[in-house]
């Protein structure tokens, strides 16, 4: 009897929470727009080949430099490839760069940050100095230098973006660990004889999920911008792979002569996807951190 009652109240709570989240999302119409962009690109990435009218890698020599028409919605590029098909195909590449690089940052940064934040001492000192070194470089330039050294491939771009940016997760998690470990529930868990790793990963870490999630969302946007920047310089994936930044890079030469469509559409795709991630980050921040809702 009693257990059923408890269950119903928790269900009630969950429903209430969902309603509240819905209220917060509704309050900010921009966040709905952001979700909309994200959904479109995720769909494009999943459906990919099904919705592209042409092969994104297929060159038609007779159809180079076509402005947008009914046959080619976004026109064709300098080698006669269909820009619309390439933009759709690019969603898969750019989203997977964002997803895997952020996953990697979190997978390295969060455990490392928790350990150095909880234990402190010499290890903390050494690791933080190492991270200072990474952050002493302007992020984009360091990424550029390392990709140039490692050689261009999607895997290397993902690795480099994660490497340049994982220190921010270490810092966030470390800072909250340092304050959390002084709290009473942490002391209590310690007094009950829990080993440090149980305390860190079971009791303390769940309290940092909010800021990590927000950071991850914002970082996805940053990762896409960086990947596109590298692609633009001819460093990211190998041409003719349909990566948006590289497409803008190829189209850049033709803007001065008026062939705008080659660079405009992939650039627009980058912007919409990045704003989707940024708006999602802001919304998450609103939902997870009540103090920010001023």
């Amino acid at each position: 009897m009693k257990s059923i009652e408890i269950k119903s109240t928790t269900r009630h709570n969950v429903a209430n929470k969902l309603l509240y989240i819905l209220y917060l999302v509704k309050r900010n119409p921009l966040s709905i727009l952001g979700m909309f962009f994200l959904c479109i690109f995720i769909l494009a990435a999943i459906l990919g080949p099904i919705i592209t009218p042409y092969d994104p890698l297929d060159s038609q020599i007779s159809e180079t430099f076509q402005p947008p028409t009914k046959e080619h919605w976004f026109g064709t590029d300098n080698t006669g490839k269909d820009v619309y098909s390439r933009v759709i195909a690019g969603a898969r590449i750019d989203l997977s760069i964002a997803f895997f690089s952020v996953l990697l940052m979190v997978a390295i940064g969060v455990p490392l940050g928790s350990i150095v934040g909880y234990f402190g001492g010499l290890l903390d000192e050494i690791i933080m100095r190492l991270l200072d070194t990474i952050q002493a470089f302007p992020a984009f330039i360091l990424a550029m230098g390392i990709v140039a050294a490692l050689g261009q491939s999607i895997r290397n771009v993902i690795l480099v973006i994660a490497f340049v940016n994982f220190p921010s997760y270490v810092r966030i998690v470390r800072a909250s660990m340092m304050s959390l470990k002084e709290r009473q529930f942490a002391e209590a868990a310690k007094c009950l004889g829990n080993p440090p790793f149980v305390i860190i990963f079971k009791h303390l870490l769940p309290n940092c999920f909010g800021p990590i999630l927000v950071q991850a969302s914002l970082n996805s946007g940053w990762a896409i911008l960086t990947a596109a920047g590298l692609g633009f310089l001819g460093l990211g994936v190998r041409i003719p792979a349909p990566e948006w930044g590289a497409m803008v890079g190829i189209g850049a030469e033709y803007v001065v002569t008026g062939e705008w469509w080659m660079s405009s559409f992939p650039g627009l795709a980058i912007m919409l996807l990045v704003s989707g991630f940024n708006l999602l980050g802001d919304t998450l921040d609103d939902i997870l951190d009540p103090q920010r809702r001023i």
Binding site: F140, M144, A149
Partner: protein, 319 residues
Amino acid sequence: MGVSILAFTIARVIPGNPVYLILGGQTTPEIIESKIQELGLDKPIITQYFIYLRNILRGDFGKSLFTNNEIIFDIKIRLSATLELLFAGLSISIVIGIILGVISGIKKDGIVDHISRVLSLLGTTMPTFWLGLLLVYFLYYKFNIFPAPMGRLPIRVDFTPSISGFILIDSLLLGRLDAFIGGLKQIALPSITLALSTIAAITRLTRSSMIQVLNTEYIITSTAHGIPSRIIKYKYALKNALLPTITSIGLTVGWLLGGAVLVERVFSWPGVGLYAVQSLNMKDYNAIQGFVLLSAVFYILVFLIVDLLYFIVDPRIKH
């Protein structure tokens, strides 16, 4: 120190043997052997690192493979172009960012606040290079308001900035008005492109610190004393509200530096960033490594200057 280790590591993980790159295809084992000794590649890796460290402390980054000059020389002759672009971009973003931030902080949810919110969304999500291309397309190709994105000066104008290296300053000092106007037109689009991505961050920061300062007790007290609100806002509050903005200049420069590489490529701006891009295309790893390392040094220097500036602006931290 740590920075140099990282840069050294980057250079050493490069695939391919630098000896073959330098000598080309047709060589004998003896020549390769002597080149390896000349470059010190036969020594242990730690010794190599210290030789490298000694060299860069003397400003010796080795030779560029494609211009065949000392890298430090290559960078030196291109530095003023990049610095001029950075200064222009930084000033635009600081001035506009502070003005927008202050107004939207004072009038929360007013028109300016909404405009600056949209602007900052655009600024943080638009890829810098794409924005540059859009500006080129509309303002050069379509409406022909600004000149073609080809370097620092119009082709007709013959002028070398011999005093400070900055075209906008030297042309005024030497009384060359044509060079000044030409230079201004050339730098307008790249510096606006560069600035827009950082205006957003500065506006947001100034706005939130302005709101915070306006809620402090000393502002409320001065309001209670009947001091005109104009003086309170622009004299008392503004000074303290700008402190976080000043701190953020260091980070802003880091952003601008990364952005400058992209912007220089879009506008064929003959600076260090374009040099780096050209080196990338020629697989000239020495030059890239020198560029990456020097930009870190520059970045750290800027942070140092900002720290010193902070001492002057905020006397409280002396205690």
